[in-house]
């Protein structure tokens, strides 16, 4: 009984962490799944989303006079909601700009697109450093989701549970979008066979733009949600790309639920190793990958993909 009581908090924590990992992978997954493109700028877009949100919540509006005063006087929760809507949209625009650059590499080797996004990652990170400085900053969060609560003699962070529920909400929203809307149907079709989609009269160019914008905005949302936990600094995105990459591969490329399940698995593995063999907690996810991919060539639920060639 004691053992179970000791394990339970770590199980809960692992599930919460897993949902956050899944959220991190969501934008990356969409772009890989549909466009068969590894977006190494994912981490920089993640950071950019957070910086945009921070500036929207707590802007320097001295140039705007009375509007600035009025805006700053709004409750923090309201400004936070504005940021949560507006910042991902801005990141989407940046992502679309990147997609327009990407067009020149379509039909060529996958490595070229990869390197282009790497260059973009450097440029975005350095631009953040120039604009916001390299010092650590704090992402403001509303009082409603901050603080801590007691349960079973342990303290848990309110924000972590809010973040996990938000992640779950985003997962469902994206799933509904892909499954229940005509856009989603086209995107999914595009993932399977772009020639077919073109033959059906869908504007493939616009589809790709849409998908990249959407993927980028999801990266941005993940940044807004995760940085109150991780802290906000220009290179914060470096810590995101590899987990995202890893989750997609463990889950299997092209599989939505594969990625979600892989995210939760990674969360559990990290949480339990962190509690019981803490020195291995960074390595555990790589070992998970090696085990899974050694036995299952295409991850857990992967479909055949052009990225295998």
């Amino acid at each position: 009984m004691d053992v179970i009581l000791n394990l339970l908090p770590h199980l809960v924590n692992g599930l919460a962490l897993g949902l956050l990992f899944a959220l991190i992978a969501l934008g990356f997954m969409l772009i890989v799944g549909v466009m068969e493109l590894i977006n190494l700028a994912h981490g920089s877009l993640f950071a950019l989303g957070a910086y945009f949100a921070m500036s929207i919540i707590d802007p320097n509006l001295s140039y705007f006079g009375s509007f600035g005063d009025w805006y700053s006087a709004l409750p923090l929760a309201l400004r936070y909601v504005v940021a949560l809507a507006l910042a991902p949209a801005l990141v989407a625009l940046v992502g679309m700009g990147l997609e327009i650059c990407m067009r020149r590499t379509y039909g060529k080797k996958a490595e070229y697109g990869l390197l282009l996004t790497y260059g973009a990652a450097l440029v975005i990170e350095e631009t953040i450093r120039i604009t916001w400085g390299s010092a650590e900053q704090v992402m403001p969060i509303p009082d409603a989701v901050s603080g801590a609560f007691f349960a079973g003699g342990m303290i848990y962070s309110n924000y972590r549970f809010y973040a996990a529920f938000f992640a779950l909400f985003m997962i469902i929203v994206v799933w509904l979008f892909l499954e229940k809307t005509p856009y989603g149907a086209t995107i999914k079709a595009g993932a399977h066979d772009s020639e077919m989609v073109r033959a059906l009269g869908v504007n493939l160019t616009r589809l790709r733009l849409l998908v990249f914008g959407l993927g980028a905005s999801l990266s941005g949302i993940a940044g807004i949600i995760l940085t109150p936990i991780w802290g906000l600094r220009p290179h914060v995105g470096v810590d995101v790309v590899i987990p995202a990459f890893l989750i997609i591969v463990v889950g299997g490329i092209g599989s939505f639920w594969g990625a979600v399940i892989a995210g939760v698995m990674v969360g559990l593995v990290v949480a339990f190793s962190g509690a019981y063999v803490s020195e291995w907690s960074m390595m555990s996810m790589y070992l998970l990958l090696i085990v899974v991919v050694t036995f299952r060539t295409r991850g857990l639920f992967g479909k055949k993909s052009a990225l295998e060639n």
């Binding site: 000791n6 924590n13 962490l17 010092a135 704090v138 603080g147 801590a148 342990m154 303290i155 960074m282």
Partner: protein, 420 residues
């Protein structure tokens, strides 16, 4: 073949000299003294590196305002060391062989400092490690040409541990960043704590690069210690601090942290600064000269986000100033003479704006200075006034005795002569 080669080389050299004269880079009067600044501008320590550099530049500015050092204008060159040792080696090689710098200053990361000092030792170039607090810097990785200006992990542990055992209790837990610096610091803490009668109930290893501390923090709650001594550094520490403050766990346990660098915490909410931590200087010291020093900083860096100087700036400034003073005292830039001056360095407390006289340990080349313990200043209205100094310990009280044994400086004879 040999003849041919040397002819070619003479030719190239002549060409280079002609080119230099043609572009007018050979001065008519005293040759300027070039100093290489090796602080990080990207990577984990970019922000501290910038603060470090501002300190060096202020000291250099002071000397240039009164005509340079020994009548020579001081010029600087800065190259980013990227918080990466391999880059540190290359930058040092470039600075010495291509730029012909006289001295090199700057480091936050101990790995980078090691790489630079090894190259510097090979050529005999004096190098100042301004800001890395790893005990190995003045211990097993010490060098004759390297001088270390920050307090190290062992100094801070000595200042904090005994006190904490008496004040907060004997049930201790260690959080250790799983790399050499973390291990060394935790080992020192463990020895001191156990000597003072504490019992270490657990040691949680934190791999480098950890961003999520939730499982470690749950583990701590399950173990329920009285005191937690954390040797966690860099970005890991920043993430950890945020998560502890979210759980309001800062007040629940007595946290003993190592040094908190000012650039790492400046601008953050005071709530994030829990527990007791070390520092070597604070801008609110009620000591003569501090106000003038702050004013000079504000005047020289009006646009910097950091409105007041901190410990990293202080170390950068004092290292540079002490070097330039040592050159003047020696009356030459010849490295052996400058090294001897620095080894006998002694700065009165009043001059250095600390509570005790500071002096260089000639056997380890580490600056012996007052170590302060601070905590968050929660009552403060002034958002720059973040620290509250709770205690200070004299250099003798925090002496890092073990480095006297582990440090084996190269002999003067084995250090090549170098006169910039």
């Amino acid at each position: 073949m040999r003849n041919f080669t040397s002819k070619l080389m003479t030719g190239a050299a002549t060409f280079a000299v002609v080119a230099a004269i043609a572009t007018g880079s050979v001065p008519a009067t005293a040759k300027p003294l070039l100093i290489g600044l090796t602080s990080d501008a990207s990577g984990q320590y970019a922000n501290s590196g910038a603060s470090d550099r501002r300190g060096m530049l202020m000291a250099i500015e002071e000397f240039n305002a009164k005509g340079g050092v020994m009548g020579r204008e001081i010029k600087t060159i800065h190259i980013d060391t990227e918080t990466t040792p391999a880059t540190g080696s290359r930058v040092a090689e470039r600075m010495i062989t291509r730029e012909k710098v006289g001295f090199m200053i700057g480091a936050v990361s101990s790995g980078v400092a090691n790489a630079i000092s090894q190259v510097a030792q090979k050529y005999g170039v004096v190098y100042l490690n301004t800001n890395s607090s790893s005990p190995t810097e003045s211990g097993k990785n010490c060098h004759r040409v390297k001088f270390v200006w920050d307090g190290n992990g062992k100094n801070f542990a000595q200042a904090a541990v005994q006190n904490a055992v008496n004040k907060y209790g004997k049930k201790w837990l260690l959080m250790t960043n799983d790399y050499v610096w973390g291990h060394n610091t935790s080992k020192a803490t463990r020895q001191l704590a156990e000597a003072a009668g504490a019992k270490i109930i657990d040691e949680i290893m934190i791999p480098q690069g950890t961003r999520d501390f939730s499982s470690a923090l749950l583990k701590i709650q399950q173990a329920s210690p009285k005191v937690i001594a954390a040797a966690v550094g860099g970005d890991d520490q920043k993430a950890m601090r945020t998560q502890i403050s979210q759980l309001d766990m800062g007040a629940k346990y007595a946290w003993i942290n190592n040094q908190q660098d000012w650039p790492d915490v400046y601008g953050l909410p005071a709530k994030n600064l829990f527990g007791v931590f070390g520092t070597t200087w604070y801008y609110k010291f009620d000591l003569p000269g501090v106000e003038e020093f702050n004013a000079k900083y504000a005047k020289m860096y009006p646009d910097t986000k950091m409105k007041v100087p901190g410990n990293v700036f202080f170390n950068g400034y004092w290292a540079t100033r002490s070097l330039l003073e040592a050159i003047e005292a020696a009356g030459t830039t010849e490295n052996h003479a400058v090294i001897k001056q620095l080894e006998n360095l002694r700065i009165p407390a009043a001059t250095r704006m600390q509570h005790d006289d500071a002096f260089m340990n000639p056997n380890t080349h580490q600056m012996q200075q007052t170590i302060y313990l601070a905590t968050a200043n929660l009552a403060s209205k002034d958002k720059d006034d973040m620290f509250q100094i709770v205690a200070h310990a004299s250099p003798a009280a925090v002496n890092d005795a073990s480095s006297n044994e582990t440090c084996k400086l190269e002999s003067m004879a084995d250090t090549p002569k170098y006169t910039p």
